[in-house]
Structure formats: structure tokens, C-alpha cells
Symmetry: C5
Subunit: 258 residues, 5 copies
Amino acid sequence: MDLATVIGSVLAWILMVAAILVGGSSLLAFVDPPSVVVVIGGSIAVIMVAYPFANLKTLPSVMMNTVFAKPSEPGVLIETLVEFAEVARRDGILSLENAAADVDNEFIKRGVQMAVDGTDPELIETIMEAELENVILRHQAAKGILDGVGKYAPAMGMIGTLIGLVAMLANMDDPSSIGAGMAVALLTTLYGALIANLVFLPMADKLALRSSEEVLMKTIVIQGVMAIQSGDNPRIVEQKLQTFLPPNARAAADEEAA
Amino acid sequence: MDLATVIGSVLAWILMVAAILVGGSSLLAFVDPPSVVVVIGGSIAVIMVAYPFANLKTLPSVMMNTVFAKPSEPGVLIETLVEFAEVARRDGILSLENAAADVDNEFIKRGVQMAVDGTDPELIETIMEAELENVILRHQAAKGILDGVGKYAPAMGMIGTLIGLVAMLANMDDPSSIGAGMAVALLTTLYGALIANLVFLPMADKLALRSSEEVLMKTIVIQGVMAIQSGDNPRIVEQKLQTFLPPNARAAADEEAA
Amino acid sequence: MDLATVIGSVLAWILMVAAILVGGSSLLAFVDPPSVVVVIGGSIAVIMVAYPFANLKTLPSVMMNTVFAKPSEPGVLIETLVEFAEVARRDGILSLENAAADVDNEFIKRGVQMAVDGTDPELIETIMEAELENVILRHQAAKGILDGVGKYAPAMGMIGTLIGLVAMLANMDDPSSIGAGMAVALLTTLYGALIANLVFLPMADKLALRSSEEVLMKTIVIQGVMAIQSGDNPRIVEQKLQTFLPPNARAAADEEAA
Amino acid sequence: MDLATVIGSVLAWILMVAAILVGGSSLLAFVDPPSVVVVIGGSIAVIMVAYPFANLKTLPSVMMNTVFAKPSEPGVLIETLVEFAEVARRDGILSLENAAADVDNEFIKRGVQMAVDGTDPELIETIMEAELENVILRHQAAKGILDGVGKYAPAMGMIGTLIGLVAMLANMDDPSSIGAGMAVALLTTLYGALIANLVFLPMADKLALRSSEEVLMKTIVIQGVMAIQSGDNPRIVEQKLQTFLPPNARAAADEEAA
Amino acid sequence: MDLATVIGSVLAWILMVAAILVGGSSLLAFVDPPSVVVVIGGSIAVIMVAYPFANLKTLPSVMMNTVFAKPSEPGVLIETLVEFAEVARRDGILSLENAAADVDNEFIKRGVQMAVDGTDPELIETIMEAELENVILRHQAAKGILDGVGKYAPAMGMIGTLIGLVAMLANMDDPSSIGAGMAVALLTTLYGALIANLVFLPMADKLALRSSEEVLMKTIVIQGVMAIQSGDNPRIVEQKLQTFLPPNARAAADEEAA
């Protein structure tokens, strides 16, 4: 689980609530159901226009993944692949069938299975890269929606504020109510800014980073499976795959290996 | 029909109207014909300057397509193409003439027809890719216009507000009318924001996604027709085309096939 | 002539004037010569700093071209080129000398003339592509300036408004004059927005589209001349060139040919 | 000297001063030394954080160059190179030694000298292209700083205005001083906008254009020196180099040559 | 140490404080602990959501590096590499073992060590380029976070101001407190602007430049080590590596060498 995301999210909202309470206002002054409906309802409606259901459906699982998925350690991944390369070299590639079945990582499992089945190497690569490509596309689609909410929520906030201002200015019989009217009008802008900057834009940033991590993992796996399939020397496989690690991680892996 | 677009569009406007009514204003306070003319008329005029008639003419049909076109299922598409590959392999490519005539998809039909006619494979590919390229260009042109309205409508709104403010400030004889004057002045900004954010910008986002879906479909068809034309093994054709599908869709297709 | 540009431009300004008059103000309240000088004069001065005279000199002709140039019909262009290919095949390439002299299109004329003169095919292509490259650069330079005015005019408007506000606030002896002072101060912002959004930004958009049209035309001509020069079969030339057309235009051309 | 830059710069400031005086204010109302210090001093301080001294040191000479450098005429450049090609063909490449010494253009001189010295052609090209690359990098660095000032100066202006507003609002004992306080607060925003839009952003635009001109020149010289070195026919050299000129310049060059 | 960064940072804050004091306010009017908590705490919380801990952990060291790292002189670097090339040519590559041990630069040391160990040249290049790639990625990640703070801090400032305004407007019983309330509300916007423009955005700019410098250094080292490994003539190595220097640095290096 990505603790930073959870802690950061909770902390951000606590700070906002604290800022309100410390300022001496009651939280109630900041809750206006119609404003909530305009900004959140309006954003949802517009997002439905902007993105197909198919993409919207995958959004929650992608977001959950971003927060809760335990990213594989590239070092562990490389170890597994090097181990497989050793087994394949020693006992033949068919002996990998059982070993692969025990692996957690679905992507390695499918890749090794194809190698065991004697699938044409080029086809293995095409299929694995197509899957990598699909992951990238799915992440881009999800990031597009998160960025979309980050763009449309503030716009809905501004529209709500304009509606509030026009309503207030149009019947300004009682000057003493101007303050309250403007306060309510500004709430939608505040809601829009909170939704965009406390939730969706940072989630989009995090997703982009998670996506590049997953691309790195899958690239390592593809390289590893291809090397195993062609029966490369396990030492060479290790050296090749370790070039994907940052230098300090590489040093650590070396020590461990020593 | 893309229900999400229709529901989202209707919902967004209902929410805006509800926000006004709940706030205790009458809808009439939000309707000012001259403001409508400045924002909508001004946007149309500027769009005429910015984009050639030829492109503007195709806009409605592209937008209708975005909303109402039933996107082909890539799985079904692949099935059809694999079936054709089987027929072509079993009975010769000429036997596809009748089968192709029954297909809904114009792009497959034309491609298979060229293969049946014995057109040079390279020319088939050039012609089909040129058509794909043209679809991309047409969609880009339409998206450009939608984005253009999303850019110019708020600008017209701001211009209208500036005109309203200057008019109000220039003859401020009656201070009690200031509120009403400002309310009217703000209406154009509100209109511009509504037009851009509730209609044109989300439609542009949706069009971009629809366009990439159509590119995917047409790419699958081109690959499929080329494979049929060269008499590839239907199993290989299937494996190749399925790499274009997301992994879950691929699994589904496999089960179905099994 | 590009009627849409002319109609759109005139319509936009009529709407703005109408909006002022309908609002009950006199047009005079919107004319302030010093504000005009700050925004227009300031923009011109800054544009002189930002762009070399050489580029500024070509701007009017490029803008005139954008509005008044009759774009060649790609279909007609292709017909001409196919006709030339037929003549060249039937009577030899030298017989094109007279035919080429009658063509309106300078670019075809020069290209065919080089082919007739027996210039080295590679050199013909280099020269024609260099010319195409030059057209692209000239259009980009002009678009850069139009975008530049679209960027600097609003900035000048904001500067003018700031100057007006500071002046008004600094000597606020007579509170009754505040309204009039603010009205004048806002005028420069209005001018900047009008100049950018009613003239220069839409012209920049149109120019970009015209430029891509001209690139298409010149690309067709280059391909055609190269094919004529190498004595290709006119039918093949036609098929090749038609891949540059949108499918419906292609169908029309086919029917016409039939 | 680039007159347009000088005239434009002077004109822009004259117009701003005139706008103030015509508005009936004294210039003194627009001069506030602390505001000048915040915006200009703050921008300089931030620019020191953002860019290394090494780059800042070269900025003045690059800016001076932008304004005062006499750009070489590409036509004249080509003439010189063609002449050299003739001499080299007629009297051998060694005879260029003296001719090259008389040329103003340092880049041609160094290139020809290397050719005369019998340096390996590949190395000549590498060295000359490295120099071209360095010019591009130096210009990009300078443009980055100019754009940086265009970004940070308005930010410093806004910060100054916020400081002024907070100070004014915090001790609002004397309502009659509000106007004057706001006027001073707005001055920093005005200064930031003037510095960015009247000086640094247009200079950055001009520098980008000058840079692309110099790249064109240096590219022509590289092509020319390589052609001279390999003893190409002077006519061919001319035709090749002229493809870098715009068509009208090409026509002029031809007439002159005739 | 990068003095410019330190001096610029200190100077910028001194100027801001001076601007406050000169304006006659007390610094206390500009310190509001809840506002500090909202902007700084909120930014930290959001940054935790947006970026993984792994990246945040490396940020301080990357920032320290940006300020305190003494950048290698490319000229000195080239000298060292040329020297090594001479030693390798004269006494064989094994004799470099001791020389390399004395070098400060870790990257040269590792590269030469691999050459001495007789590692396969292709593998040396792959490993060194992977390390270069990792440096680029680490810098991009750090720059992404700095830019992220530069984006979220002003957003938090705006959110704080909106909260302050709503609180103030909602209980406007005492009109005399409006000024003070607005002053406090504006403080968060001021804080956000200061944090972004005085610290994080300029640091991001500087980091980008430092990163490109380090890429240049590492590229020179890679080229040099590869040349040493293949036993190139030291003169040729020098000429090749000097093409990475700006012309004036090159001249200086030549003189020194002479």
C-alpha cells in the first residue's frame, strides 16, 4: 500500500478543516449543499460527456491500484529472472514449467509459459510488448480522466460562483445580505479548487509515476524472458538486466549476490 | 448511441438550472438576449474567420458521429477478419466477393474487394492507409474547431463583460442600478464559461477518444486485409490481430473461441 | 476569396457595436484616443522589437493571401498532372513545354519546365522541396507574428488599465469621478481583447489551415512532376495522387473520370 | 544594427510615458523606488538562483549581438563560397589560403583553413557542426534567461502588490489613504508587466529568429566548405546552396549572376 | 558551491523583508501561523499524494547537489582523459589501473576500471549509458517535484485565501474588521507566490541546467573511455572530445596545450 498517498490525502483535508476552525468560523459556514451539487454533480456530468463509459469504468480500479498496489521490487524481479535463466540452462527450458507456476507476477508467468510452450520468440515479444502497450494506454486513459476532473472541477466552481454573483447582484434589495451572498458564491470556487488540487491533480501525478514504474518492470520482464528463451548465460542476463537499476540499487544487488 | 454523452449533457444543464432555482432566483434573471447574441454570435463570427467553410461544414456530422455512432467491437471485427481468412484459404480469395458484400463495415468491404480484384498489395495498403490518414485529419480538423469554440467563447464572454462594465461605469448616475448592471455584465462571462465547459471542450475530449478508437479499428482491418491477401494461416492472423486487444478482451475472445 | 473570413470579421465587429448600442450607451463612451494609442501603438512597437523588419514586411501579403487567395482544387490539380503524364507518355516529355506554359500554377510550371530541360531528377526534387520548405517557413514566420500580436495586445491592454487605475487611485479627490476613471481604464483591456480575439488569433488559426492546404497541394505537384519525369503510367500516377484526396473527393473524381 | 529593435523599444516607452501624461497624472505618481527595488531587485535575485553565472555572463553580449549584429546576407555568403569553389577548382585548394584570410566571416575562414590544411573531411564536418551546435545551445541558454525574466518579473510584481495590499488593509485607520495605498500597491504589477512585455519577452522572440538565421548561415557555410573540399563543380555548388534561399531571393541572385 | 544560488536566494528574501519594512508595516502583520500551516502543510501533504516516498527521499540530496556540487570543468576532464589515452597507448591499458585510482571523478574511475578489467566494450558502453540514463531520470524526477511544489503552493495559497474570504464574508458583523480579515486572507496567496517564485521554480530551472551540464560531462567521459579502450591516437581523442566544448573554451584549451 502506498502510505504516502493515504497520509498525504488525510493530512491535506485535516489541514483545511483546521484552517477553518482556527479562523474562528464554524464548519457549517463552509457547507452549502446546492454548491456541492453544482461542482461535484456538474463535474461528473461533464466527465460523462468527455470520456466514454468504458474508460470511466476502469478508473476506480486504476486509482485503487495506484494507492494500494505493492510495486514489485525490480531487484527481486531480476533475481527471479536470473534464477529462471540458470534453471533453463541447467535442466532445459521445459523444467521452468513448475517454477513459473509458483511466481506471483502474472506477466512473468505468461511469458515463461509461452517460452516453455515453444512459441515463436518473435511472437512472444510481440504479444508481451502488446500487453505493455495496453498497460500504457490504460494508464494514459485513466490519467486523462483525472486531469480532466482537475480541469473541469475548477471550471464548474467558477460557473457556480458566477451564478451566485449574478443572483446576488440581481436582487440586492438588502445590502446587509451581500456578504453572506458572496460567501456562498465563493464556496463553489473553493470546492472546485479543493477537488482539483487535493484529490485529482496529485492522483494524476502519482499515476504517471506508477505507470512509468510498471513500464520499467514489464520491460525488464520482457528482456528477461527473451534472454531465457534464447538460452543466454545467466551472468550476462544479470548484467544486462541490472543496467535498468539505479547505480546504488545495482551495488546493493551485487553485494547481496557476493 | 453514446448514452454517456447524452445523459451527461442533459444532466449538466439540469444541474445548472437547478442551482439557479434553488438559489431563489428566477431563471429570467439569467436570460439577457443581447448577451446571448454577443457570446454566441461573436463566437460563430470568429470561428468563421478562424476556420474554412469546408471544415465547418463537416463539423455537425462529425459531432453527430461522436454521439450516435455505434463503435464497432474490435473483438467482432477480428472474428470477421479471421473468418474471411479461413474462407480465403479454403476456397480461394475470389470466394470472398459475396461474403464481403454482406459486411456492414465499409472499410473492410472496400479492402476485401481490392484484394478480390487482384489489386497490387502495396497499392491496397497505400490506399487504405491514406484513408486512415484522412480520417485522422478530418477528426483533428473537427477537434480543432471544438477546441477553438472552447477558446473563443470565454474570450467573447470576457469582452461582453468588459463592454457591460464600461457602459455601467460610464453612466453611474443611479447608484442603485449598479448591482443590476454588474449582474448583466457578468452574464456574458457565465455564458462563455457554460458554452466552453458544458459543450465544446468535453465534446473535443470525447472526439479525441473516439478518433483513437477508430484508428485502432482501421489499423486492425488494414492488418487483417493484408494478411488475408497474402494467404496467411488464419490462426496466425488471429494471434496477430488479438495483440491489438486489451488482455482481458483477449482472454474473453479466447474462451469464446474455445 | 475566402468569404467566411470577410463575413466573419465584419459580423464580429457589427455584433460588438450592436451590443454597445443595445446596452443604451453611446459608442463615444467606448472611444478613447489615448487608449487606442497605448494598445495599438504599444503593440506595434513591441512587435517591431520582437520580429525583424524582413518578416514584418511579408506579413500584409501573407494575410491578404489568406483572405483572398483562391485555393487550387486538389482534384483539378491531379487532373492536370495526369493529363501531363499522358502527353509525356504519348508524345515525349519535350512536348510538355507548351502545355506547361498555359498552366496558372507557377509551381507546376517551374517543375515541368525543369523536367523538360532534362534537369537531374534528384535536383528537381531537391529544388521543389526546398521551395515547399520555404513556403512552410514563411507561413510559420507570419503565424508567429499574428500569434505575437495576439499575445502582446492583451498585455498592452492590461498595462494601459494598470496605468489608468494607478492614475485614478492616486488622485481620488472627487469620488464621483471614480466610475468614469475606471471605465476609461478598462477600455485598454477591452481593446486588447478585441484586437487579439477578433482579428489576430483567428487569422493565425486560418493561416495555419491555409498553410497545410498549400503544403498538400505542393506535395501533390512534387509527386506528380517526379512521376511525369520518370515516365510512369498515367493510371498509376492518378491512383497514387488520389490517395492524397479525402475519400468522398476521390469518389467524385472517379465518377467524373468514368 | 537592427533598427527595428531600437526604434520599437524607444517608441514603446515613449508611448507609455505619453499615456501617463495625457491622462493628466504626473510621472512622479508612477515612480516608487521601493517598488522598483522589489520588482527589479527581486527578479535579478531570482534569476541568479535560476541560472548559473556562466550563462548570465554571456547574456549581455548575446543581447547586444541580437540588436547590433549585422546579419550576413545569405546571397553574398553563397557568392563568396561559389567564388572559392571556382578558385579551388582552377588553382587547387591550397590557393584558397590567401583568399580565405581576407574574408570577414570567421566561420568560413576557419572552415576553409581546415580544408587547406588537408584536415580529414569528416573531422571538418564534425568540428563545424559542433560549433553550430554550440551556437544553438548558447542562444537557447540566453533565450531561456530572457524568458525567465519574462516569467519572474510579473511574479515579483504580483508579490509586491500582495505585500502592498496586505500592508494597506492591515492598518486601514485612515480610509482616505486607501486610494493612494492601492495605487502604490498596483505599481509593482505594472512594473512587472512593463519589464516582461516591453523588454524581455520581445527580445526573446527576436533572439529566437536571429538564432534561426544564424543557423541557416552556418548550415550554408558548412555545406559550401564540404563541397569546396571535395572539389565539386562550382555550378552544382551554387545550385545546391541556392536551395536554402527563399525563391524571390533565388531569382534575384540568378539575375545578378546573369 | 554555486554562490549565485545562495546569494540570489538570500538577496530575494532580504528584498521582500525590506519592501515590507520600507512600506511602514511591521513584519508581524505578515506572519500568520495558521496561514503558514495551510500553505506549507497543505503543499507537503499534496506533494506526498503526488510523488512516491522513494522520489521525495532523494529530493534533498539532489537539491543540495544543485547548490553545493562543484561542477567538473569539461576542459580538465578532457585533459585527464587524453592523458589516460597517452598512458594506455604508451604502456598498455593495464597501466591505467593505478592512475584511475587517483581520479576524483567516480564515473571515469568505474569506466577505466572496466576497460582495464577487459570488459567487453559494448557492455562498458551499455553500463555507462545506463548510468547516464539513470542520472537523467533522477534529475527529471527531482525537477518534477520542484515544479510540483511550484504548482501546488500557489494553489494552496488560493484555497487559503478563499477560506479566509468566505469566513470573513459569512460573519461580517463588524465592518471595521473587514480590512484586517482581507489582509489575513491575502497572506496565504502571498505565501504561495513566495514559496513558488523565490524557492522552488528557480531551483527547478537551475536543476535543469545542472542536469544538462552533468549529461555533457558524462557523455564526454563515455566517449573518452571508449576511445581509450579501443587504443585511439591521443591527438584524435583530444580533437574529438574538444568538439563538445564551446569555441572559446576550445581556444583556451589549445593555448594551454601549446
